[in-house]
């Protein structure tokens, strides 16, 4: 007997995971870069 599956459920789950992971990675890389550069600039100021 063939299982009834809604293809769109799998498509939407894939897009949610793929797009979500990509956006989270972009946000994390930008935030960690800003924090690190602010830390470096602060260290430069402490002479």
């Amino acid at each position: 007997m063939r299982e009834a599956m809604d293809a769109w459920t799998f498509v939407i789950a894939s897009y949610a995971i793929g797009v979500g992971a990509t956006l989270a990675m972009i946000a994390w890389s930008l935030i960690s870069m800003k924090r690190a550069e602010a830390r470096r600039d602060k260290a430069r100021g402490q002479r």
Binding site: F10, Y15, A21, E37, R39, Q46
Partner: protein
């Protein structure tokens, strides 16, 4: 290449190149995914599930490209001792691992309706899973060697080169062994795909590749800034201790 060995010169280029790559990449990937999701027709045999290809294939390519980046940077570091090579390798690790994980998850979500199973231990799937574990191992080794040897990255560089053996295994696994996974649809200059799927796929691959490049540059800037801050604080602590 040695012209880019200067961190100050690298930063001057990365400051405008990083947002440019990310901006164009996000726009291209968004348009391509919209095209793939709403404009491309359902495939004759796979129906609507074929739309997963527009995420799965770019993620697979970038999972492998990330490790090729680590291997190239490792080679550059071992042979020419390029000061930015170790930083470039570290910059490739997280985005490479994320895209490898996305490839495995979307592949599993595609496999369930297409093959009737979430997972099979065949050559392609297993070698891709091995790649994810290689990323985890490389990141752990890189962090450990940085903490113990003050940024000495020779061991991760050797690991990066040895691990590159897995890349041709992933690529040729569907040719060498019997596999549930289909053989490559796109080879050099040829495509078995119809244009209705091929063009959005190429646009998505370009978009995600630019996002990957932007994330690598952002990671490199972060690692470089961290190292510069550490060096300054260390110098300050030493000069204070001298008085």
């Amino acid at each position: 290449m040695h012209g880019f060995a200067n961190p100050a010169r690298f930063l001057r280029i990365a400051r405008w190149l990083m947002p440019l790559c990310m901006g164009i990449g996000v726009v291209a990937a968004t348009l391509a995914l919209y095209w793939g999701l709403f404009r491309a027709p359902p495939e004759r045999l796979q129906g609507e599930t074929v739309r997963i290809v527009f995420l799965h294939v770019p993620a697979a390519w970038l999972g492998m490209a990330g490790w090729m980046g680590i291997a190239a940077a490792s080679f550059t570091e071992l042979v020419w001792r390029h000061p930015l090579a170790g930083i470039a390798a570290r910059g490739c690790a997280v985005p490479g691992a994320v895209f490898t994980a996305v490839c495995l998850i979307t592949g599993s979500l595609w496999g369930r309706p297409a093959w009737g199973t979430w997972w099979v231990w065949d050559g392609r799937l297993t070698s891709m899973l091995v790649l994810l574990f290689l990323y985890f191992g490389w990141m752990a080794l890189s962090q450990a060697s940085e903490a113990s040897a003050g940024g000495h990255t020779r061991a991760p560089a050797i690991f990066g080169l040895v691990g590159a053996v897995n890349i041709p295994i992933i690529h040729y696994s569907v040719i060498w062994w019997n596999s549930q996974h289909q053989p490559p649809s796109i080879t050099m200059g040829k495509s078995a795909m119809d244009g209705a799927f091929l063009w959005p796929l190429l646009a998505a691959t370009l978009g995600f590749t630019l996002i990957f490049a932007g994330v690598v540059l952002a990671r490199m800037r972060a690692i470089l800034a961290d190292q510069q801050a550490e060096a300054r604080l260390r110098r300050k602590a030493m000069s204070e201790a001298a008085f």
